[in-house]
Symmetry: C2
Subunit: 248 residues, 2 copies
């Protein structure tokens, strides 16, 4: 799984991935802990990321690196942007790590960040390479990260929120069959506040992005919820077109 000996490593460019998952309760983000170095005990979480190869596109690099560190693959990653501040690798604990992990630890490195939304239950992350552990952390618990990853993470959250306002969301985060309550919770988790249940359902139904199925929850100690699935046609159309504001 280590390609370093077969490819020409680009020592000035890395990729980092912000992977959001949803467990029907909270919005979470996939983070790794790096294997400890020297006598540095501090162990900030980081986003999965690494240097790119010179013979791969940025998108491919993101896919590869994510796979190498967490074993997740075939995830639709969207680019968030490039981060290249001069001080992005300047925390003492990060410098120590770079010294023991990089051929040119002092090199200036810019990173291209990617983000994705996934159905948390459909993936089973496993740490490898320099990742000691991988875990899903509730987004609201993330207070600090290695490198400039907190900045990247915050940007990704903003982007997610911006996206939510102009197109439907959830296709990649929910199972094929889901309930409107689950979709509702997902939106609330991203928006960060309560949304009126009736108005939410009305909107989703009017936009025709969901189809009601002839199947209900079973074994729940309350009125069972109806299952829905996404109306793929309409969903995609709205992703492309965006919700209309003011006719344009």
């Amino acid at each position: 799984m280590n390609y370093n000996y077969e490819h020409d490593l680009n020592k000035g460019i890395s990729v980092d991935c912000v992977i959001f998952g949803f467990d029907f309760e909270k919005l979470k983000v996939l983070v790794i802990r790096r294997k400890p170095v020297e006598n540095i005990s501090e162990s900030l979480v980081s986003l999965p990321g690494d240097l790119i190869f010179n013979d791969e596109n940025l998108d491919q690099a993101a896919q590869r690196v994510l796979k190498e560190l967490t074993d997740l693959e075939n995830i639709y990653l969207e680019q968030l942007g490039a981060f290249g501040d001069l001080d992005r690798l300047s925390k003492p604990s990060d410098i120590a790590w770079l010294r023991s992990n990089r051929a040119q630890p002092e090199a200036r490195v810019i990173t291209v960040a990617y983000y994705a939304l996934v159905n948390l239950n459909a993936f089973d992350p496993k740490p490898s390479n320099f990742a000691e552990s991988v875990s899903w952390e509730p987004v609201e618990d993330i207070k600090s990260m290695a490198f400039d990853h907190l900045e990247i993470f915050n940007k990704a959250r903003e982007e997610l929120y911006r996206k939510l306002k102009i197109q439907p969301i959830g296709f990649n985060l929910l199972p094929k069959k889901f309930t409107l309550s689950q979709l509702h919770k997902l939106y609330e988790a991203i928006v960060g506040r309560e949304l009126d249940k009736r108005n939410f359902r009305r909107k989703m139904i009017k936009l025709e992005i969901v189809k009601k199925l002839d199947e209900k929850q079973k074994g729940v100690p309350h009125k069972p919820s109806n299952f829905y699935e996404f109306h793929v046609e309409n969903y995609k159309r709205l992703v492309n077109k965006g919700f209309d504001n003011f006719g344009f």
Copy 2:
């Protein structure tokens, strides 16, 4: 104006700028023509862009490069994203140019693109460095560009359109005093189709992003238009908050 001997050039990372301007008629984009090399006569236009230095941030690099090539400065540039496809520098005419302009013409280079909207009349671009000429071209006339600049340009136009839908626009493209017809034309230029005049005015006024001034056009052979200015407070608030869809 050539910093190359004072700074450490990063040979793997460049920046490119998509500068949109508006002349009250058409939406335009700032392009340069490179000084010709060898016996290559083909002269595709390009976006102003060049390699970055290792001691500057990406944002700074974009500002500097834009200044060096076109003499434009103090422009608020927003990042569009990174472009790093393996074949982005593979057109024959581009290879010839790289050979005569770059220390490592075969090097893999990714670029970080920026875009901005400016009041075309407030700037007077002047070519320098490897730019032979600089000009404003109507966006609809752009059919091909050097490198992968057409792809970058198209992405920038999409981004501009996306932006228009969720926040007010025009603050940087119009003079301090402007007429609602000018704003209307600007929107039509970006959206690419006609927008109902009355509904447009109603919306702008209701959003309170413009303030009516006590001043009219003079010397026009028709009913003079009233001048307006932006309501900075409300404008900024809406830029941050975005237009609401569905309460979130």
